[in-house]
């Protein structure tokens, strides 16, 4: 286990040396809800959804043609948002599950 952690740390270090990793916002899916339901992030943020339910869920946003694969328990899916604006997304298996992403333009 120790060597695995070391390798991971080295890999992370190399990655950081080459390019700065984008900021990441984790959104958990639990009890058929996106948590946090509403997020505000700067453009270029990596959004990662992690499914903690025993049922599959997905992420769909029609305006920007966003459609994840179905996420089974423990699966994660990421997407980097670049276009500023506010987007409502949902789970197409359970459309009562909705969330919003507000993307703010980066300060120059």
């Amino acid at each position: 286990m120790q060597w695995r952690m070391t390798l991971a740390a080295v890999a992370l270090g190399l990655s950081a040396a080459v390019t700065a990793a984008p900021a990441e916002q984790i959104i958990e899916i639990k009890d058929y809800q996106f948590v946090p339901q509403d997020v505000t992030v700067p453009a270029g943020t990596k959004l990662t959804w992690v499914n903690k339910d025993d049922a599959p869920h997905n992420i769909v946003q029609k305006d920007i043609k966003l459609r994840s694969t179905a996420l089974d328990t423990g699966d994660a899916w990421s997407f980097v948002v670049n276009e500023s604006g506010t987007y409502t997304y949902f789970c197409s298996l359970h459309p009562e599950m909705t969330g919003t992403i507000t993307v703010e333009a980066r300060q120059q």
């Binding site: 058929y32 599959p56 997905n58 769909v60 179905a70 197409s92 459309p95």
Partner: protein, 313 residues
């Protein structure tokens, strides 16, 4: 047309909610009557039964592997064996054949369903249209000869059967939808069907609103039902909610079937509608099939829900 009795309706709903007992329904002029079922699940009515019988299986969720049932293939096989004992003229599968719309899940389901020796008619559940093509795999297998996203109709023994699809084009924050194209098709389809013809509609998500906060309903279902209200006997069969719930509205009977894979909580009785883990020895009392056949000596249909096991075991 018989008048609707709200007291009878309350009794019907109560009996329909029983988790483990067989419940027998007789449709007379569109209004169901409950008839006792004996311990062998056989109706207590007399002889003269027509050979016309069909079965309903639902929510097999092949590929599911969580605590609520790690072996959905096994319980599906048991359900199929029960169906075979009934020697149905045909079987309706009301969707969620698979868990994640994977090719191998469809393959396994097809292999299991081969044990049903009669023809099976399908409608998709939302779990069957998760592939990259957004339902392409389902429609390639089961959509031949259908319209739009898989809707169709057929006639058997003087009953008109309509397969409706309400798992495509879902919208954020809204319940299921049939869509205007399908409703227009239904209107046209019913044009040649006389009001005295019994109609059976089958679909995946309930056409009536069972519980809106969990999306258990079809937003434009009323538009379809409006086209059916002039008929003397309408039976609407669906799955999706993994439990038996009945509702009677005028001459229309709504009936949701059990799953063969795992139970879900009663509406609003849990934090979410997710798979409900029950003690292993009780699982089979929550899973089952539905049998539909004419009521002997009566003009309507009777529905009998049978659990894979009664009172556990």
């Amino acid at each position: 047309m018989n008048e609707f009795d709200p007291k009878r309706r309350a009794t019907l709903q109560c009996m329909g909610m029983m988790a483990s007992a067989g419940v027998l329904w007789t449709l007379v002029g569109g209004v169901p009557r409950a008839i006792a079922a004996d311990s062998s699940h056989q109706p207590m009515t007399g002889a003269g039964a027509s050979p016309f019988t069909f079965g309903q299986i639902s929510d097999t969720h092949i590929g599911f592997n969580k605590a609520a049932n790690p072996e959905p293939d096994k319980t599906a096989r048991e359900a199929i064996a029960r169906l075979q004992q009934l020697k149905p003229g045909f079987v309706l599968h009301t969707g969620d054949i698979t868990q994640l719309s994977k090719t191998e899940e469809f393959d396994t389901a097809a292999s299991l369903m081969q044990d049903i020796k009669s023809r099976t008619f399908y409608v998709p559940g939302e779990h069957d249209v998760l592939d990259e093509g957004g339902g392409k795999l389902y429609l390639e297998r089961y959509g031949k000869g259908s319209k739009g996203n898989g809707w169709y109709s057929f006639d058997d023994h003087g009953v008109h059967f309509v397969a409706l699809v309400n798992v495509f084009n879902l919208e954020a924050g809204h319940m299921a939808k049939l869509g205007s194209e399908q409703i227009a098709w239904l209107k046209d389809d019913l044009r040649g069907v006389g009001n005295s013809t019994p109609v059976v509609v089958f679909t995946h998500i309930p056409l009536w609103t069972v519980y809106e906060p969990w999306g258990w309903g079809t937003e434009d279902g009323d538009q379809a039902l409006a086209l059916l209200r002039s008929y003397g006997s309408v039976t609407v069969l669906n799955g999706h909610i993994h439990q038996v719930i009945q509702k009677v509205e005028g001459d229309i009977t709504f009936h949701t079937a059990r799953s063969t894979a795992f139970p879900q909580p009663a509406p609003g009785k849990a934090a979410s509608p997710g798979p409900m883990a029950v003690p292993a020895e009780q699982l089979r009392s929550y899973l089952g099939i539905t049998e539909v056949k004419p009521a002997p000596g009566l003009p309507g249909l009777q529905l009998l829900d049978t659990a894979l096991a009664r009172n556990g075991g």
